[in-house]
């Protein structure tokens, strides 16, 4: 069974890399976006198991995003992704899904 992971980060280059990394594993489906509007649109139309918050998201945007996620799909785990690449990604996702 695939785990759908929504990544939200402001840096377009990192978002492309995250999309490649997440979709390289058959057990994961990665959907990667740069804006909160895109993220909300995806949450409205797709089942998402986990949300990764990437770089550049201000505390205000993060709070608003958490409120929107809670209203739309309560119970989805939201975790901070650090490092912007593959080094910590597996551990972050496994830790969140454990």
């Amino acid at each position: 069974m695939q785990t759908t992971i929504l990544y939200i980060g402001r840096d377009a280059e990192i978002t492309v890399v995250m999309n490649r990394l997440l979709n390289a594993r058959p057990e994961w489906k990665g959907v990667c976006v740069c804006t909160d509007e895109e993220a909300i649109s995806i949450l409205k139309t797709q089942d998402v198991d986990l949300i990764l918050l990437g770089n550049g998201i201000s505390p205000e945007c993060e709070n608003a995003l958490r409120e929107d996620v809670n209203a739309l799909k309560p119970g989805i785990k939201i975790v901070q992704h650090y490092g912007g690449g593959s080094g910590l990604l597996y551990g972050e996702i496994m830790g969140a899904l454990d």
Binding site: E13, I14, N55, G83, G84, G87, G91, D98
Partner: protein
């Protein structure tokens, strides 16, 4: 009452990719151990052996303080901030990834293996402006002394980072004893033995062993061999 966690060398994660032989003190890449996620803000301690001319192509980072210490050989570094440099054994490099930076790291030498420690700390502030620095270490000052090589302060010894962390490095004669005072209340110390045998707070450690100690304000140290070399990482335990 102080607490400790011991990471023996042979319990580290290991990945041999041929050109890269990596040992991970904490979960990294495909090595995942829920009991080895971090020591306070210390998230990554990788001990990498990289073949001549080989390395990591351009890849991004964000929101992480990345410290690289070459133990043998030299690294060729290039990044999206316009830095292009070679960092040799006896030097230290720091990169605050902040809002995002891309870089490449290669063994600068074609016919010599590169051994480096790469250390990642969670920053105390997210989305800072990326920055890069490198410095030559004062090797003379490390003789029978924990010489500071990193701090949170721009005007202090060593490189600086966005975290209340202090790193010290020393080379010790057999029998040398010292007490290390933790720099900030609430910090712990992670000791990594680069070489030799030492005793820290009653624990005997050998080459590449790691020992994390917290809930204390100082640790005792004794070198048991003539070639002891130890890196102390004094880091916040809460973040």
């Amino acid at each position: 009452m102080s607490q400790f966690i011991l990471h023996k060398e042979n319990t580290r994660g290991h990945a041999n990719h041929g050109w890269l032989n990596a040992h991970h003190s904490f979960s990294f890449a495909n090595y995942y151990n829920p009991e080895r996620m971090h020591f306070g803000v210390l998230r990554v301690l990788n001990d990498d052996l990289i073949d001549g001319g080989m390395g990591f192509g351009t890849h991004p980072h964000d929101n992480m303080e990345i410290i690289t210490i070459p133990l043998a050989g030299a690294i060729a570094h290039k990044d999206s901030m316009g830095n292009s440099a070679v960092i040799k054994s006896g030097e230290i490099q720091v990169m605050s990834a902040g809002t995002g930076v891309s870089h490449s790291e290669y063994n600068a030498l074609a016919d010599e293996q590169l051994n480096l420690l790469q250390i990642w700390l969670f920053p105390n502030k997210k989305n800072v402006t990326p920055r890069y620095d490198q410095q030559t270490l004062d090797v003379q000052a490390m003789y029978n002394n924990f010489q500071q090589i990193l701090s949170p302060n721009e005007d202090d010894a060593g490189v600086w980072i966005h975290q209340d962390a202090w790193f010290s490095l020393g080379n010790f004669d057999e029998g040398f004893e010292a007490e290390y005072k933790i720099k900030k209340a609430g910090n712990g110390v992670y000791a990594f033995v680069i070489n030799g045998e030492v005793t820290i707070d009653g624990q005997t450690l050998n080459k590449r062993d790691g020992l994390g100690i917290w809930d204390t304000d100082s640790v005792s140290f004794k070198a048991n061999s003539a070639d002891a070399r130890v890196l102390l990482m004094d880091v916040p335990m809460e973040f």
